[in-house]
Amino acid sequence: MQKNGKDDIIRPASALSKFTLEANKINRGMSVFVGGIVGINDFSEESILLKSHGCRVKIVGKRLSLKIYENSSVEVNGRVESINFAYGKN
């Protein structure tokens, strides 16, 4: 994600240091890449709940598919309708 040099970005100390989230538009939906994942709490065709250090991400949509990579990163493809982010210790 490109940051605007003029804005200040506030981060909790160390908790989100490995977390990244990048979303791109693809044919018939979106591709959401999430890095720094430690667990997957819930996975179904319509909802995926991902855990990271210090936060949770819930992706809701239709016909969701999941790719897992070796470096604790996942990619969610499909008709993503909402992405909810919440701080919290996992």
Partner: protein, 390 residues
Amino acid sequence: MLMVRIDCMIFGYRKIKIEPSDLSAVTSVMLHNKIPTYFNFDGTFSVRERDFPKVFELLEGRFSYEASDTRGAYGAYKSFKHKAAAVIAILISVLIVFISSLLVWDVRIEGNEAVTDTAIVCGLSDCGFSVGKFWHRIDNSIVEAEFLSRFPEVSWININRRGGVAYVSVIENNAEEEKETGEEYKYLNIVADCDCVIEEITVKSGQAMVKPGDTVKRGDLLISGVAQTEFGLQLCRAEGNVIGRIKEKISAEVDRECVIKTKKNEKISSVVLKIFDFPVKILKKYGNSMDKYDIIKSVKTFSLFDKCKLPLELSTEYRVEYGTEVKIYSDDELIRAALYALNAKTAERLNFSDLIKIKTNGNFTETGYIIYSDVVYCTEVGKISPFYIQ
């Protein structure tokens, strides 16, 4: 649509079906053990053939599953009986395709109206270009030049290669002028584009209204489309070249203090290989720690022996982080920067012109340096100006 990575397609993969209720638990297990997998929304997932033994250990006894045979190219190869024959057949096919791509398979003509396709194809054949010839043995520029000398009806020809097909674009001579609805033919005058002194005037049609040595202003009539003939006044499209001498001042100013971009870091962000225009993603890096960066994309094409272009293209994208710093020029650097800026402006202005005289001067200002050149040059000064008869 099931999308399987290119390495799975080549080196093999297995498709595993599990109970929908176990989906969450299995994804967590795969993530925890860092096994790349692709989970589809119908409850099946794909895993690389080389990871399957480990996946088998993790699933056995804990989850109920159903695994397919090895799929992909490796799976087909494993199950195929006559492996040596298949490899030889593939190599022979590749060789045939490669040799075939060196030949001209078809010639297609575009842009012709009066001259027929057959006439152009026969003409090209007489010039040494036809179906069945080897591409690398043909010099397109020689063929085009020879064709134009044989065919006065054609004013321009270009041969483009797309794969094994030659696309020949032609423009014919004496194309009919377009008539605008409700108006007569357009007649033209040639007028001055800028203030200048006339150096030379050559009239192809029309009547000259100025002579060498005359001073003209912008918009003055140079060649009239109304010509006096023995039959009286005749209207025509004025044609000709008018060269004028122009005196101009070009200047450039540079500040002593400026902000310059400095390169800090360079990282590859993606690599894509295109085979016959089909993109294959080899590498893609996500996440970005750079504050300000430029994205540079470099495309590399490949050819065999510098003659035969291969249908491969490697596209690499870099993220180049940059910072900015304030630079204060010394006197010498300031003059050099001002001269560089002035030269760029002068080169752009003198494009397609003949320089007669240039005198350059400069002086320091409070904020920097200003440099200027008094330039005298000759250039084409006529521009067409249509007029209508009602």
